[in-house]
Amino acid sequence: MKIAFTSRGRSLDVLLDGRFGRTPFFVVHDTVSGETAAVENVQNLNAAQGAGIQAAVTVANAGAEAVVTGHCGPKAFQVLQAAGIKVYQTGALTGEEALRQFEAGALRQLDAADVEGHWA
């Protein structure tokens, strides 16, 4: 199973970014192989609108089945849900810490967006 973590950098040992749509990177961790790969999200950092929507598409294209992040807005959640991707919420500081929480089953799965949209 592939899990996408919102991250400030290209690996799991750096700060986790609490934002979904405007995170600089997604670090995709494969729980079977144990490998990680970074996917840039820079194209969304300065988007005037719709960053969450396109970030969700990016995560779907990366083959992730779950997202671990701080917060998720309504449009992003709608796209992730349509793509069959589960969303888990964490307050962890780093991706590694969030991964341990995930493996321990300590993360809450969101059944709806937890924050309001920022634009519309």
Binding site: A48, Q49, A51, I53, A56, V57, A120
Partner: protein
């Protein structure tokens, strides 16, 4: 002819001035409430709409039978309104700018257009004022298409007074664009002057002629007057700082009702704009 009443800063008295101008223009004039995010001219006219017209914009519709899942439509969208998950399209109409780009990008003929309601125009008349109000649907974030539609309803044989949105962002620009003259309503405060400057800069870029009305005018108008002199913008009228006017406004009275002594000045202002040399012919 179009006279736009704008300000920069909110709450300086655009609606007060626009209503007063429309009232002194009488049957020659008309009032268009372009502040579609928060229209309020109608609050000063004891009336109900006699007619309402839907404002709709084209948005894409996706045919899953024809879609080949290439994602070209989503990539073409600068507004990120389309999420392409293979052949499954998620579309967010509130983000769509109706540019038609996705339809052009689709080589499979899977994108067609349908009309999507975003607001309405309301027509009413009272106190000798004909008013058309632009109203946005709740939840729709884009004011500009409603303002554009409202302006399409301008009549060539009338003098349309446009009550514009505050600020200097897209809705204000959409409202003032194409006006024959822009009346900037300001107040003699630091904020009023600061935002007046922004408004003047905006109008300069749009190459629009303007004049200033100082509302709540008291002994502190020096800064505004100095600024106007330096920029070569005429100060056309001063509405005195008066508790009577403020109280009247708060109870839904128009300027002509709570300060009838200003009527002559308002008539002179309208004559100056409509017949004077302020407007290029």
């Amino acid at each position: 002819m179009r006279i736009a009443v704008a300000s920069g800063k909110g709450g300086t008295g655009k609606t007060t001035v626009a209503l007063a101008l429309a009232e002194v223009l009488g049957p020659r004039g008309r009032l268009l409430d372009c502040d579609v995010e928060e229209p309020n001219c109608h609050l000063f006219l004891d009336s109900v709409p006699v007619r309402s017209e839907a404002v709709e914009v084209p948005v894409p519709e996706f045919d899953p039978e024809r879609c080949i899942g290439c994602g070209a439509c989503a990539r073409s969208c600068n507004f990120h309104a389309i999420a392409a998950l293979g052949k499954r399209m998620l579309f967010f109409p509130e983000l769509c700018h109706s540019c038609g780009g996705c339809g052009l990008a689709c080589k499979a003929g899977a994108v067609t257009e349908r009309m999507h309601g975003i607001g309405r125009l309301e027509y009413r008349a009272a106190a000798g004022i004909e008013l058309v109000t632009g109203v946005m649907n709740v939840g729709h974030p884009m004011a500009v298409p409603v303002i554009r539609r409202l302006k399409e309803r301008t009549l060539s044989d009338r003098i349309d007074v446009l009550d514009c949105p505050p600020g200097t962002a897209c809705p204000m620009v959409a409202a003032v664009r194409g006006a024959d003259f822009v009346l900037l309503v300001t107040e003699p405060t630091v904020f009023g002057l600061h935002d007046l400057e922004l408004a003047c800069d905006t109008l300069e870029k749009l190459r629009l002629r303007s004049g200033v009305v100082i509302n709540r005018a008291d002994d502190n108008c020096g800064g505004v007057e100095q600024f106007c002199r330096a920029r070569g913008i005429p100060v056309l009228m001063r509405i005195p700082f008066s508790r009577r006017i403020a109280e009247g406004y708060s109870s839904g009275k128009r300027l002509t009702e709570c300060a009838p002594e200003l009527r002559k000045e308002l008539e002179a202002l309208s004559a100056l704009i409509c017949e004077g040399e302020l407007v290029e012919r």
